[in-house]
């Protein structure tokens, strides 16, 4: 049996490269067909759980669908949902809150993570043990972290307020980290940083360990100071790793939901209501399916666009 090979198709390439002509064992099927047979479940799964919902959501975003009033006729409303969202002052405030959270938490995580990576990279005695200890928070589930910190922040019995009181003299029950407008935004930043700075550290550590020793040796020969070595070697050579960490964390924090929902439920008022919480409320509490589909698409395009620009910048840094 002779199979006709079209080298453009991935399935065909797989078929062509098979060391054994499998088709000969299963009668009636060409190598190409067998290759497609193997790829088909994955393609079907991708279509079913990624592409179809996306296309369906785009369609819904142009309708008035509200699942709590599904008896109302489904109407095509054009760009109404999009214009509603883009002209909603409250939503812009939520985006502002999200941006503040993303910028503050990622900045802190980069500074702390990079600092920890520099320390761990010195390879002092028991550094492996400390690396494991530092990595523990990121291994926990965000739901556990949310509940755990809620308890720690409890004004009357929480150890956090007690410790603050011990050092500052402020009565522990006189402030609430999750309940005060001035403190709550910083509280979610603090907890997120506690959880994810180790992740940034891990990426930075990989970057630091990839710098060959001979570069530092050459710098030593040239009598470059430690600071000079840091600015001229360490930082530029770990920059792509740092940028990668920023990209990962920014995308993650942009869609942060679980931990913040458990810590503050978006409160007090709407002080810590990130756009992901607004989206969840619109979709699964208010059941405004059309509106929330449009919001999801706007957020997707925003993150996708920003990530693309960022990746281009990252590539430019890598090429330098």
């Amino acid at each position: 049996m002779t199979a006709i090979i079209h080298p453009d198709a991935p399935a065909d390439r797989v078929g062509a490269q098979s060391p054994f002509r499998v088709a000969r064992r299963v009668r009636g099927l060409s190598d190409r067909a067998i290759a497609w047979l193997f790829v088909a479940p994955t393609v079907a799964l991708l279509l079913a759980i990624n592409i179809f919902p996306l296309v369906w959501m785009i369609r819904l975003s142009f309708t008035n669908l509200n699942l709590s009033m599904s008896y109302l006729p489904l109407r095509f409303v054009g760009l109404d949902n999009y214009s509603d969202i883009l002209t909603d002052e409250d939503l812009w405030l939520r985006l502002q809150t999200t941006a503040q959270f993303v910028i503050s938490s990622v900045a802190l995580q980069v500074v702390i993570g990079f600092g920890l990576a520099l320390l761990i990279n010195r390879q002092f005695r028991s550094h492996s043990f400390w690396t494991t200890i530092i990595l523990l928070p990121m291994m926990l589930s965000p739901a556990v972290v949310g509940n755990f910190w809620t308890l720690l922040f409890q004004p009357q019995i929480g150890p956090f307020n007690y410790v603050v009181g011990l050092f500052t003299g402020i009565p522990p029950s006189s402030f609430s980290m999750t309940g005060e407008v001035a403190l709550a935004p910083w509280t979610i930043v603090l907890v997120d940083t506690w959880m994810w700075a180790p992740y940034v550290m891990l990426i930075c550590l990989a970057g630091l360990r990839s710098i060959p020793d001979y570069i530092y040796e050459a710098a030593e020969v040239d009598r470059a100071s430690s600071l000079r070595q840091f600015w001229s070697i360490t930082l530029p050579m770990t920059m792509p790793f740092l940028m990668l960490a920023v990209l990962f964390r920014a995308i993650e924090n942009f869609k942060m939901f679980d931990m913040v929902n458990l810590l503050t439920s978006g409160g007090p008022g709407s002080t810590t209501e990130l756009v992901s919480i607004t989206l969840k409320r619109a979709a699964f509490e208010k059941w405004r399916t059309g509106y929330s589909s449009a919001l999801a698409i706007i957020l997707f395009v925003t993150v996708f666009g920003a990530a693309n620009i960022y990746v281009k910048a990252l590539n430019r840094v890598k090429q330098r």
């Binding site: 009668r27 709590s68 109302l72 006189s174 402030f175 978006g266 008022g269």
Partner: protein
């Protein structure tokens, strides 16, 4: 096709047929057993009365042979979970004890089975139930004889107080000296605030205590279910009684704004620290741990509190939601029991409702920790003395008001949660601005629902 290949194919086909036959036989073999073990799934919230219902349900199983299975979900995710189930036409629940505000959506979306014919056939009449519960839990449209549920769990907001603290002579004397009256359960919100201020920060038995516990939860319905108890009594109304959906001047009247200011004052002056996102459970914890002198909560929890070894018995007292300058109302809670329209066991589910509606079952329901809405139970001469909170419960059920029960109730509720929490807890804007914004939000929701909203 070569002979060997034909043989291989026939082996495969025989194997597949044998497997199919095996599976089919197993299914057929199990069918009589499945038919014998009839089962109904009842969905509700996970709280004290649900445990009482499990106890009660054993009698139904004994009488009918139908096994009862329960799906109880914590209050914080109760609406999300079950509205999702109903929305997606799921078959998890055969019977559902759904919140009073769901009735509009459940009727319009045909999630529940309409019970009029069944009631007529089984001689169940709604005249036998407390009127407020019939309107609140069963009717849609409101005040029309269209029934979608049987009143199952009557409930309203009430208050508990530390009777033992109130009774202490030194506290009594100090209070009288300060306010010129006896320290007693408050009849008005002004009195309640005075008492709360009096207890706030006071040391009792070597422990710092606080004045009052009120609802402030942001995520689901908490702060709304709390603030309405004050708003109603200050003159807040959902709409013009003569012109439906006209909210301007009713939701945001100057009196309603004063009520909202009062709630914020009470929250600021007299609650324990950190109560920025607190609902039923936090209230129970605060009261049981001896932290507060007075607690706002649902009557459903009062049997459990009365039995509490630390704060129950002689130490606890109960009072009706206090009156305000413009009236005396309280927030309706509670739920009706409905048959889910997608259930495959509707006949058995109706059989359960018929059984549940019987006076002797309703009497037992009240005795073991549920709250019956049947007049035969609550109007019985012995009822006020049957529990220490029974008189307050009876009085409360006569003055209840409920939140919107429109199909869009979830949007209306979340809008109110946001506006009230923004003002009360997050100190954003004024009370008048919060209510003006609420009118704007609600107008938008009703317009989306296709209602004609009059602006003035």
């Amino acid at each position: 096709m070569p002979k060997s290949a034909t043989k291989r194919w026939s082996t495969w086909v025989s194997g597949a047929l044998a497997l199919f036959a095996g599976v089919a036989l197993t299914v057929v073999g199990n069918e009589p057993a499945a038919a014998q073990a009839k089962q109904l799934t009842l969905c509700w919230a996970a709280w004290d009365p649900a445990n009482a219902l499990v106890e009660l349900g054993k009698d139904f199983t004994k009488e009918s042979g139908i096994e009862m299975k329960y799906e109880f979900v914590p209050w914080t995710s109760y609406a999300d979970r079950f509205l999702n189930e109903l929305n997606s036409h799921g078959k998890l629940c055969d019977l559902i004890i759904g919140d009073s505000q769901w009735i509009g959506g459940a009727a319009e979306n045909h999630w529940y089975v309409k019970l009029n014919d069944f009631f007529a056939k089984e001689h169940i009449t709604m005249d036998d139930f407390v009127p407020a519960t019939v309107v609140g839990y069963s009717e849609w449209p409101k005040n029309t004889p269209n029934y979608w549920a049987l009143p199952a769990m009557a409930d309203a907001v009430g208050w508990t107080y530390r009777k033992d603290w109130f009774a202490r002579p030194e506290i009594q004397a100090e209070f009288k000296k300060k306010y010129g009256r006896d320290l007693a359960p408050p009849k008005t919100y002004d009195e309640l605030k005075q008492i709360a201020e009096f207890f706030q920060g006071r040391e009792i038995d070597g422990k710092k205590v606080y004045g009052a516990y009120i609802f402030t939860e942001r995520g689901s319905e908490g702060i709304t279910m709390g603030v309405t108890n004050v708003l109603y009594n200050y003159g807040f109304e959902y709409e013009n009684p003569k012109k439906p959906y006209q909210m301007q001047g009713f939701v945001n009247s100057p009196e309603a704004a004063k009520g909202l200011e009062f709630y914020k004052d009470l929250y600021k002056c007299c609650t324990a620290p950190g109560m920025t996102n607190a609902y039923m459970q936090e209230g129970l914890d605060a009261f049981k741990s001896g932290q507060v002198a007075m607690q706002m909560n649902w009557f459903a929890f009062f049997p459990g509190l009365y039995k509490d070894p630390n704060v129950g018995g002689d130490k606890i007292g109960f009072f009706v939601n206090p009156a305000g300058p413009k009236g005396h109302f309280t927030q309706l809670g509670g739920q009706g029991i409905s048959v889910v329209a997608t259930s495959d066991h509707q006949d058995d589910a109706l059989r359960y409702i018929k059984w549940f509606a019987q006076p002797k079952v309703q009497q037992k329901w009240w005795e073991i920790g549920g709250y019956s809405a049947l007049k035969a139970v609550v109007d019985a001469p012995g009822f006020p003395k049957s529990a220490p909170f029974a008189p307050q419960f009876l009085e409360s059920m006569g003055i209840v008001k409920d939140f919107w029960a429109e199909p869009s109730y979830a949007q209306l509720l979340l809008d109110m949660q946001k506006r009230v929490h923004d003002y009360v807890v997050a100190d954003k804007g004024t009370a008048q601005q919060a209510l003006d914004l609420l009118v704007k939000d609600w107008t938008k929701v009703f317009k989306e629902q296709g209602k004609a909203v009059a602006s003035d």
